[in-house]
């Protein structure tokens, strides 16, 4: 008696017509997630690479000039700008001039990285990328 009560539901449960559509939907969802994660990995690596390049070039200058000052800072920001990084939120500091030959010089740069994957959801999550490099001053100061 009860078996014949809901014949349409039994028919619906046995029907597998939408299976392909659901699989396709989940596949697209998964591929989109992989795509966004890939974009963020590339973006983060790119930011680190640009900061490292700028720090490395500036550190070479700091070794020759025995420290960091406003002109060195200008060189750093100019280099970053040429690399295509937004310099408005980048912060840099270094061992101030003038240290003696053989003493340590240090440069520290930080830049925020905003996760692109969350932008479609109108969310903004950012974290700091930090690069630090050290070297020895080369010039003798009389």
């Amino acid at each position: 008696m009860s078996k014949n009560r809901f014949p349409h539901i039994k028919e619906l449960l046995g029907n597998q017509a939408g299976e392909g559509l659901i699989t396709a939907f989940y596949t697209i969802l998964l591929l989109t997630m992989i795509f966004f994660v890939g974009i963020d990995i590339a973006g983060y690596t790119g930011t680190v690479w640009k900061l490292r390049n700028a720090c490395s070039e500036t550190l070479t200058l700091m070794k020759m000039e025995n420290g960091f000052d406003s002109s060195t800072e200008q060189v750093f920001y100019q280099f970053l700008q040429n690399q295509g990084l937004d310099i408005s939120k980048v912060q840099v500091s270094g061992t101030p001039k003038t240290v003696q030959r053989g003493e340590m010089v240090r440069i520290v740069a930080t830049a925020p990285y905003v996760l692109r994957a969350l932008r479609p959801f109108n969310l903004e999550l950012s974290f700091q990328v930090r690069v630090e490099m050290i070297g020895l001053a080369q010039e003798f100061v009389r």
């Binding site: 070794k63 020895l136 003798f140």
Partner: protein, 140 residues
């Protein structure tokens, strides 16, 4: 029977992950120490009074001594150039005088102790780092 096998697999995977992380961190420290050693080789090797006369010559003995000192202290190594993670470390520094364009190259090779290699009965993972530095001073 299946659960212990999965647990063992998970443990091995965790150990492998820890070893990879250790090697990456050690390599990054080695790169930094090598950079410091190259700077120190130039600071120790270039004679300031010679430079004032427009000559550039690197004293290889003094350069190597200072590079060795900085390298050792950067990685907190003992007199055999070893610590808990690094064994059989070797620092090779080559000075290329090349007239007024002197250059220093460094090669650091070491064996990083890892958990998975211990299980396999091996000593560790060999890691080599290379770097070079041209002298970038100014003539006054």
């Amino acid at each position: 029977m299946k659960v212990p096998a999965w647990m063992m697999f998970g443990l091995l995977l965790a150990m492998l992950l820890m070893d990879v992380t250790t090697i990456m961190v050690v390599r990054s420290h080695m790169l930094r120490a090598t950079e410091m050693a190259l700077d120190a080789a130039l600071v120790g090797g270039v004679n300031q009074s010679d430079r004032g006369r427009g000559r550039l010559y690197i004293d290889e003995g003094k350069g190597y001594d200072l590079a060795y000192t900085y390298f050792k202290s950067s990685l907190q190594l003992d007199s055999n150039l070893e610590n808990n993670f690094l064994k059989k470390t070797r620092l090779r520094i080559q000075f290329i005088q090349n007239g007024e364009k002197p250059k220093v190259t460094a090669e650091v090779s070491t064996v990083v102790t890892a958990m998975t290699t211990k299980i396999l009965g091996l000593e560790g993972v060999p890691v080599t780092v290379r770097g070079n530095r041209n002298y970038v001073g100014k003539f006054k």
